[in-house]
C-alpha cells in the first residue's frame, strides 16, 4: 500500500493513498464538522461545512471529496475556514425552527453542536420560515420537513444501503423538500420503515416516534445487544432510561449490519412491555390458570416430573427447547433433559 505524507495544522501525518482529506483528519483525531457525510455512504460534498484551506488551492475545498496528496498543507481551523463554516451555519439556522428545548434530537443534534461551537445564534439572517405539515402517518417515524437541512443522507441511505430509493429531493430552491415520490406521507409510499433514514439524520427532521418525550440522550444508557427476531443477527443499542427500554438506535459498530436494521428490529422492541406478558407463575387450579409464587410452581413442576419419571420412565417426558432463547439456556435445557430427567427427548423448531 502506498502511503502519503501531508501536513495538517502543522502536524505531519501519513495516510494510505486514496484517503480523503476529511478521513486523514479524522484518522488523526483532528475534528472537522460535517452534516452530509457518513462513512458508509458516498460523499456528496453538499453541506460544505467540512471546508478546509489547502495551500495552493484558490478556494476552500470540501475535505470530504478532496483526495489527500503527497506534501499537501492543510489548515482546518484558521479564521478564514471558520468564518466560511459560520456563514453556512448561519444560513442553515436562518431557516431552522429554534424549538430546541422540546426537540427530540436535542443533545444529539449536529446542527446544534456546530452552532454552539461557531457561536451561531440565528439572528444574522432573518427571513421567511418554512411552515410545512409534519408527517405523522405511521407508528414509527416522525418526519418534520421544517427541520430538514437538505443534507441528503437519508436519500443516500435509502438508495445505497437499502436499495429502495423511496426518498429524494422534490421542488426547487427555498421550497426544496426531501420525501417520498409526490411528497406522499411515508405510510402511503413504498417505505418499509427500516428506519435507516432516521439513523443518519443529523437533526430532528426524522426521529423515532416511540422515543418522543421518553428521554433525552444524556439521560439514556445504550446497551449493545443482538436482535431477537430473524437469523441475520443484527446488533443495535437498546436505549434505557430509569430501568426501562425506551427505544432502539443503530450501533455503527454492529458487525453484521452496521446502521441498517429492519422495521422489526428497530421498532418492534415495544413487545417487551406487551400487556400479554406473563409476569408471575401460573398454576392450573379447578381448570383455571391462577397466579402462584415461584416456590409453589417450581416444587409442583419438580414433583410432577419426578413422579412421571418414576412411574412411566424418563422417556415419557419430553421438552421443546427454544430457538428464541440463548445458547446458554438451550445448553441448560438439553442438559436438564439428558442428565436430570435421563432422556434424549429434546428438540426445538430447528426446521421451521
Amino acid at each position: 500500500m502506498e502511503w502519503l505524507t501531508l501536513t495538517i495544522d502543522g502536524r505531519e501525518v501519513s495516510v494510505p493513498k486514496g484517503t480523503t482529506v476529511l478521513d486523514a483528519c479524522r484518522m488523526n483525531n483532528i475534528p472537522i464538522p460535517t452534516l452530509c457525510h457518513a462513512p458508509e455512504l458516498t460523499s456528496a460534498g453538499a453541506c460544505r461545512l467540512c471546508v478546509v484551506q489547502i495551500e495552493g488551492m484558490r478556494n476552500l475545498p470540501p475535505s470530504c471529496v478532496t483526495q489527500a496528496a503527497q506534501g499537501m498543507k492543510v489548515e482546518t481551523q484558521n479564521p478564514k475556514v471558520r468564518q466560511a463554516r459560520k456563514i453556512i451555519l448561519e444560513l442553515l439556522v436562518a431557516n431552522h425552527p429554534l424549538d430546541c428545548m422540546t426537540c427530540q434530537k436535542m443533545g444529539d443534534c449536529s446542527l446544534a453542536e456546530y452552532a454552539y461551537d461557531y457561536g451561531v445564534t440565528g439572528e444574522v439572517y432573518q427571513g421567511e420560515k418554512r411552515c410545512l405539515p409534519i408527517d405523522d402517518s405511521n407508528p414509527f417515524i416522525l418526519r418534520d420537513p421544517n427541520k430538514c437541512i437538505l443534507c441528503g443522507k437519508c436519500i443516500k441511505a435509502c438508495t445505497e444501503i437499502q436499495g429502495k430509493s423511496i426518498l429524494d429531493f422534490s421542488f426547487r430552491g427555498f421550497d426544496t423538500q426531501v420525501g417520498p415520490a409526490f411528497n406522499l406521507p411515508y405510510k402511503e409510499s413504498d417505505c418499509d420503515f427500516c428506519g435507516s433514514c432516521v439513523s443518519v439524520c443529523p437533526v430532528g427532521a426524522l426521529t423515532e416516534k416511540q422515543m418522543v418525550g421518553k428521554g433525552r440522550p444524556w439521560e439514556v444508557s445504550k446497551v449493545q445487544t443482538t436482535c431477537p427476531f430473524c437469523g441475520v443477527g443484527c446488533n443495535f443499542d437498546l436505549n434505557v432510561k430509569d430501568g426501562k427500554v425506551i427505544g432502539v438506535t443503530s450501533n455503527p459498530e454492529a458487525p453484521v449490519n452496521g446502521k441498517a436494521l429492519c422495521v422489526k428490529g428497530r421498532f418492534g422492541m415495544d413487545m417487551i412491555y406487551s400487556d400479554n406478558r406473563v409476569t408471575t407463575p401460573l398454576i392450573r387450579k379447578n381448570g383455571e390458570l391462577v397466579p402462584a409464587d415461584w416456590d409453589e410452581a417450581l416444587d409442583l413442576v419438580a414433583s410432577k416430573l419426578g413422579e412421571i419419571k418414576k412411574t412411566y420412565g424418563p422417556n415419557s417426558i419430553a421438552a421443546l427447547s427454544s430457538a428464541h432463547c440463548t445458547n446458554e439456556e438451550n445448553y441448560l435445557m438439553q442438559k436438564f433433559m439428558r442428565a436430570v430427567i435421563g432422556t434424549n427427548n429434546v428438540d426445538h423448531c430447528a426446521r421451521t
Binding site: 445505497e160 443482538t226 437469523g231 415495544d270 413487545m271 416430573l305 427454544s322 439456556e329 429434546v346
Partner: protein, 524 residues
C-alpha cells in the same frame, strides 16, 4: 451459511431459491441489493413474485414442489455446455458419475414441462450460475419445508460442487436460518440425536465424554423429534412435556393435531414470556425473560456467536430462563450451580469443539464465527476451503418427487406459506406498533381466481383443508400464480397451520408447510 453475510455484496451471481430475503431476512436482502448495485446477476426461483423477482435477471416461476427437477435440469444444461468445473469435481468430490447419469433424463424440454419454466429461462439461469466468477446459492424454507426437503438441499449441494462454487469467499451454499437463535439451539444440542457441537448421542465414545462431564449415565438412544411427540402424547407413550419459548399450537403444521396431542398429556409446563396459545393449555406457566432482560449469546445464520446483554431487570416477577431451569434441576436433585451465563459458556467451550475458543469476554462487541477451535483462533469466515468435513464432497443422484398433498377437485387451490416483513412468527403480534402497522392476515389470491370465486380485494373468505378451516381477509394480486393462495403464519385470528399438512421429510421430519390443498369459499 458456508459464507458470511458481508461477503454477499461481492457475489457475482446469486441464485436465490425458496427464499424471500427482503422480507424474511431483511438485512441480507439489502446486502443482495448492494451486490446488484455493483453489477451482480440474480436468478430467483419462486412461484411467487417476491420483491427480488422484480430485480432478477431471470425469474424462474416454477411450480411448487418441482425444485429437484429444476436443479437437475440446470445441471443437465451445464453439463451439455461443458460449464462444469472439471478440476473441482476431480479433486474435491466423489460420486459424480451417478449424478451425470441421473440428470441425463432431465432435458430442458422435460424439465420445462414439469416445472412450467420456459426452456430459454432454464438455459439462461444455468449460464449465469455456472459461468460467473463467484456464484452463491441462497435458500431458506422454500427448499427445506417439503417432504423431499433433504433431497432438495442435496440437489443444491450437487449444483454447487458441479461448478466448484463452494469453499471460496463470496461463493458457497447459504441456507439462511429462520429464527434469531435456531442455529445456536442446534449447536447446543437441543436436538434428540446429538449433544452440543453435533456430537452423536449414539456414539459410545461421545457418550462416555458427556457422562464423565455430567457425572451421570446417559441414554444411548436418540429421543423423539417434534412430530413424534404429539403422536406419542395421544398414544400415552409421552406423559409430560416441558415447552420453553415456543408456541407449537400456532407454529407447527396440522395445528389441530398438535392441540390434540397437548391436551392428551398428563402434565404440560410452558415457560414463556407471553400467555401464548400453548401456554393457555398448560398446567403450569413459568414466566421467562425477554432478550432485553438477560445476558447470554445468540448464534446467527453465518455462525456468528454474539452477545445478548442485559439492559433491564426481568419484568414483574419473571426470571431469566436459565435461572428457572437451574432451579428446577436443583429441586430435582441435580444442582445446577452456575454463577452466570458466562460460566455456562465456559462449560460449553470445554465440551463442544467448535466453541472451544469462545468466552463471553472474547465475543465482545463483534462476536466470533464458529468453528473457533482454540482461545487464539479468530473464527471462521467461510467453510469448506480446500476440504469438506467428510474429506471429499459426495454427489448424490436425486430424483424429482411430488409433494404429499397436491390440489384436487375437492381442495383445488395450492396453499403456500411464508413470512412477511412486518412480523416475525407469532410473537411480534405482541408489539403494539407492529400490530397497528400490519394488523391482519391478507391471503394472496390471483385476480383470475378471485373473479371465478366472486371475491374482492379485502373481502373475508373461508379457507379450508382436510385438517381445519379459518377465516381470512384476501388480497387480490398477481404476485401469486393462478391456483395458488399464499398465507403467512403470523396471526392468531387466522392460524394458517390449522390448514397445513403434517406430512414431513423422511430424514429431518420437517413438515411440508409449503404445499397442501385447500378450498376457498365466500362468507355470506
Amino acid at each position: 451459511m458456508t459464507n458470511s453475510i458481508n461477503e454477499i455484496p461481492n457475489v457475482k451471481a446469486m441464485f436465490v431459491i425458496g427464499s424471500n430475503p427482503t422480507e424474511a431476512h431483511p438485512v441480507i436482502g439489502t446486502k443482495m441489493k448492494q451486490a446488484l448495485a455493483k453489477g451482480a446477476k440474480l436468478i430467483v426461483a419462486d412461484p411467487r413474485c417476491i420483491n427480488l423477482a422484480e430485480d432478477a435477471d431471470v425469474w424462474l416461476r416454477l411450480r411448487p414442489g418441482t425444485d429437484i427437477a429444476l436443479i437437475n435440469g440446470i445441471m443437465n444444461i451445464i453439463l451439455a455446455n461443458g460449464w462444469e468445473n472439471k478440476e473441482f469435481i476431480a479433486e474435491r468430490t466423489e460420486g459424480f458419475e451417478k449424478v451425470r447419469e441421473a440428470v441425463k433424463e432431465y432435458t430442458p424440454e422435460v424439465v420445462s414441462k414439469v416445472t412450467g419454466v420456459p426452456v430459454e429461462q432454464l438455459e439462461e439461469a444455468a449460464r449465469i450460475y455456472a459461468t460467473a466468477e463467484r456464484s452463491s446459492i441462497f435458500y431458506t424454507l422454500g427448499i427445506t419445508e417439503h417432504t423431499c426437503g433433504t433431497d432438495n438441499v442435496m440437489s443444491l449441494a450437487n449444483l454447487a460442487m458441479l461448478t466448484g462454487n463452494i469453499g471460496k469467499e463470496s461463493s458457497g451454499v447459504n441456507p439462511m436460518r429462520g429464527q434469531n437463535n435456531v442455529q445456536g439451539a442446534c449447536d447446543m444440542g437441543a436436538l434428540p440425536n446429538v449433544y452440543p457441537g453435533y456430537q452423536q448421542v449414539a456414539s459410545p465414545e461421545v457418550r462416555a465424554k458427556f457422562e464423565a462431564a455430567w457425572g451421570v449415565p446417559l441414554d444411548p438412544n436418540p429421543g423423539f423429534m417434534i412430530p413424534d411427540m404429539f403422536g406419542a402424547a395421544v398414544s400415552k407413550d409421552l406423559r409430560a412435556l416441558y415447552v420453553l419459548g415456543e408456541d407449537p399450537v400456532i407454529t407447527d403444521a396440522d395445528a389441530n393435531h398438535v392441540r390434540k396431542g397437548l391436551e392428551a398429556l398428563d402434565f404440560l409446563v410452558v415457560q414463556e414470556i407471553f400467555l401464548s396459545e400453548t401456554a393457555k393449555l398448560a398446567d403450569v406457566v413459568l414466566p421467562g425473560a425477554s432478550y432485553a432482560e438477560k445476558t447470554g449469546t445468540f448464534t446467527n445464520t453465518e455462525r456468528r456467536v454474539q452477545m445478548v446483554n442485559q439492559a433491564i431487570k426481568p419484568i414483574g416477577n419473571a426470571k431469566t430462563d436459565g435461572e428457572i431451569i437451574c432451579e428446577l434441576a436443583t429441586r430435582m436433585g441435580y444442582p445446577f450451580n452456575y454463577e452466570s451465563s458466562a460460566d455456562v459458556m465456559e462449560e460449553i467451550s470445554k465440551l463442544a469443539p467448535q466453541f472451544a475458543g469462545i468466552t463471553h469476554e472474547r465475543l465482545g462487541t463483534q462476536g466470533l464465527q464458529w468453528p473457533v477451535p482454540h482461545a487464539e483462533h479468530p473464527g471462521t469466515k467461510f467453510l469448506h476451503e480446500g476440504k469438506f468435513n467428510r474429506g471429499k464432497g459426495l454427489f448424490m443422484a436425486i430424483e424429482n418427487q411430488l409433494p404429499a398433498e397436491l390440489p384436487d377437485e375437492e381442495y383445488p387451490f395450492l396453499l403456500n406459506t411464508g413470512r412477511k416483513l412486518s412480523h416475525y412468527n407469532v410473537f411480534t403480534q405482541h408489539s403494539p406498533s407492529l400490530g397497528i402497522h400490519s394488523p391482519e392476515e391478507l391471503a394472496e389470491v390471483n385476480p383470475s381466481d378471485a373473479k371465478k370465486l366472486g371475491i374482492e380485494d379485502g373481502e373475508v373468505v373461508q379457507v379450508a383443508s382436510r385438517r381445519g378451516e379459518l377465516k381470512t381477509k384476501v388480497k387480490v394480486t398477481d404476485r401469486v400464480p393462478e391456483g395458488m393462495v399464499f398465507m403467512t403464519l403470523h396471526y392468531f385470528d387466522s392460524p394458517t397451520n390449522v390448514l397445513t399438512n403434517g406430512a414431513y421429510d423422511k430424514v429431518t421430519k420437517t413438515y411440508e408447510y409449503k404445499v397442501c390443498g385447500v378450498k376457498i369459499s365466500k362468507v355470506s
